[in-house]
Subunit: 387 residues, 2 copies
């Protein structure tokens, strides 16, 4: 592995450890257990650092992720997803329950009954998912008790409620508003369980943008995922600073756009209105931007991921060039626009911060980690484990 053998994902283990310890201390001070979402890193080395820092277990998204971490020796796993298991998935769930303390999500009466029928009494706890405003999965809080009661009556062990305030991924006050809705929804859901005669032992929430607002008076645990690495989304949402970015894609400048030599050439004329399928559509009436110099990197959507929320400034950020913007992304090209100065040369190495680190990591078979013991290869043990 040569440093200039780009593109690859590089982890700064020192920053990683500090990000993990900072959250662990904050949670301890607020009386919250931490059950980090392992879909972000899919790495035993990162999970081990999280448990060493006090995490009580791991959250995963799929049965396959749970199997990968159980194989790596992690024995307290929450599949925070409303499973509708096929017969073969149910067989795998029952096998998992033999070797790990296992929790799964439910969000409907029908789902609870189907899960109970397929688990056939295997020791799996269930947690009712509640919608706190994202409008993805989860029942309205007031219905959590009815779903919990149906699950209990179907023979399942109901231990509490959980939500994911994913609508906190937004500009302005979205984080604060989502965190408030999260608390309200979880409080109402917990009360709905109590009215159904079920005392919730687990009231689980938290996402990296909203975790700082979690309230130990309502929640018992938080499940942030992105915080060990952070990414360009967190940077632009203001939930981390640049010095807390612990994972970058190392890339090489492979092409530099030159000023046109032929002023009549329609092709690279500055400010040319040629369609650029990937760059954001300008607001109606916005002025044509001043021409900026473009360079192309060998890191594209097949290593950074194509995630680009409407509020993001581009398809990722350059850690050492805060003024630069990734204006378009292809599978193996990132087109970066720079103001007049500080443009890296052909062949230069640059550090790219992915917009969404969870999808970037899932594209790599291994992470290259810069540790106190030198460069290490960390296998992404649950890469592509979607089932």
């Amino acid at each position: 592995m040569q440093r200039d053998d780009t593109p690859y994902l590089l982890v700064d283990d020192d920053r990683l450890r500090r990000n993990i310890e900072r959250l662990a201390e904050w949670a301890a001070d607020h009386g919250l257990r931490v059950r980090p979402h392992a879909k972000t890193h899919k790495c035993a080395q990162v999970a081990a650092r999280q448990l060493d820092a006090g995490a009580t277990g791991l959250t995963v998204a799929t049965i396959g992720e749970a199997e990968a971490f159980a194989d790596a020796g992690f024995t307290d796993l929450f599949i925070a997803y409303p499973l509708w298991p096929s017969e073969s998935k149910a067989t795998r769930l029952r096998a998992l329950a033999d070797r790990a303390a296992l929790r799964v999500g439910i969000d409907s009466v029908a789902g609870a009954r189907q899960l109970a029928a397929r688990l056939r009494g295997a020791p799996v706890d269930v947690v009712v998912e509640v919608d706190s405003g994202m409008r993805r999965t989860g029942v309205v809080p007031e219905e959590a008790g009815a779903v919990a009661a149906a699950a209990r009556d179907a023979g399942l062990s109901v231990i509490g409620v959980f939500t994911f305030p994913g609508h906190g991924y937004g500009p302005g006050s979205a984080r604060v508003d989502a965190a408030r809705q999260e608390l309200q929804a979880l409080a109402a859901a917990a009360e709905s369980l109590r009215r159904a005669g079920i005392e919730p032992r687990v009231v689980s929430g938290g996402s990296t943008p909203t975790v700082a607002f979690a309230d130990g008076g309502v929640l018992t645990e938080v499940r942030p995922g992105v915080y060990p690495f952070n990414d360009a989304q967190q940077l632009e949402l203001g939930s981390c600073d640049a010095d807390r970015i612990a994972l970058v894609a190392m890339a090489t400048v492979v092409s530099v756009e030159r000023p046109p030599t032929d002023p009549d050439s329609p092709i690279t004329e500055p400010g040319s209105p040629l369609p650029d399928p990937s760059s954001p559509t300008p607001e109606p009436g916005s002025p044509i931007p001043e021409p900026r110099r473009r360079v192309v990197l060998d890191a594209g959507s097949k290593i950074l991921g194509a995630d680009r929320p409407g509020w993001a400034s581009g398809f990722g950020r350059l850690l050492d060039h805060p003024e630069a913007r990734i204006v378009s992304l292809s599978e193996h090209h990132a087109v970066v626009e720079f103001p007049g100065s500080g443009i890296p040369e052909l062949g230069a190495l640059v550090r790219v911060v992915p917009n969404h680190v969870c999808t970037a990591v899932n594209l790599a078979d291994e992470l290259i980690a810069e540790t106190a013991h030198g460069l290490e290869r960390w296998p992404v043990i649950a890469r592509g484990a979607n089932r």
Copy 2:
């Protein structure tokens, strides 16, 4: 492999073969050679069908993809990318040149000299990349001769010019306009080489949206990638019909949004203005849409890919529900909105067409193919081969 063990990518081999044969016949009728881009499928089985139908070789994007296909027995490979090889990459390139007819791209004088220095005389042909309006990589056509001459003088074997009209991925007349610019740029670049005393044997263009407009009078070969499978982008651009979609993600309905039981509940109130971070921002002044029913599928961005150009109607399409729209996509959730009727039930299997099949395939370790011989597993041999 059970059919309900979702999510997974399923190939319809009958449609795949017809898509491949249709393009092969069209190209033969127009005097064009076909060098399909293998970054789309990364599969030996698909490449073999393309060569059986008359393709002269394969196009790839990286040295790693070239190695994967050389290992699988494919011996005529074009790395259509302006390489800036590290020492270790150059060593791999020289090894590839010993076992395959190898072509690579260049798009600058400096790049040509660096490549020549690192190849140390290895038998690799070079092709000058030209920008035809996408403003990604490639020189302006009039400069192709200067880059070609510098490459020749550095000891490289220059065989022609190529371009990728990626700006044809757009609504309205984008395809036609890009195809016209592609022809103009390649004709000008070929003339520029001739003025530099280099006769271009290869004039290479073509993308799936623009290939139908390719002109055998200017081009010698086309390099479409997506056409064997097609995807939701091609469907919405009008470059294929639904009956030519040969790859889908099989998914299960895991959650169904229920009408609110409490009219005061702010959480699932129809038409509620709660932020939805992933759905497209409505046009200013557009009316609030009528409430539609939502279901959630277990296929998210980790199997479909997160690609979503501004002109796309959503994050993919449902092959059997043309009226449905994927309004938001998370890593393991697709939120689909349906009009009042025809909504699949909890546990139902649905066929999802990814927006961009190249990035979807790159997320999977294998494709499940429905063939005349039954279900087959096709390994994605170049998955993640970004270097």
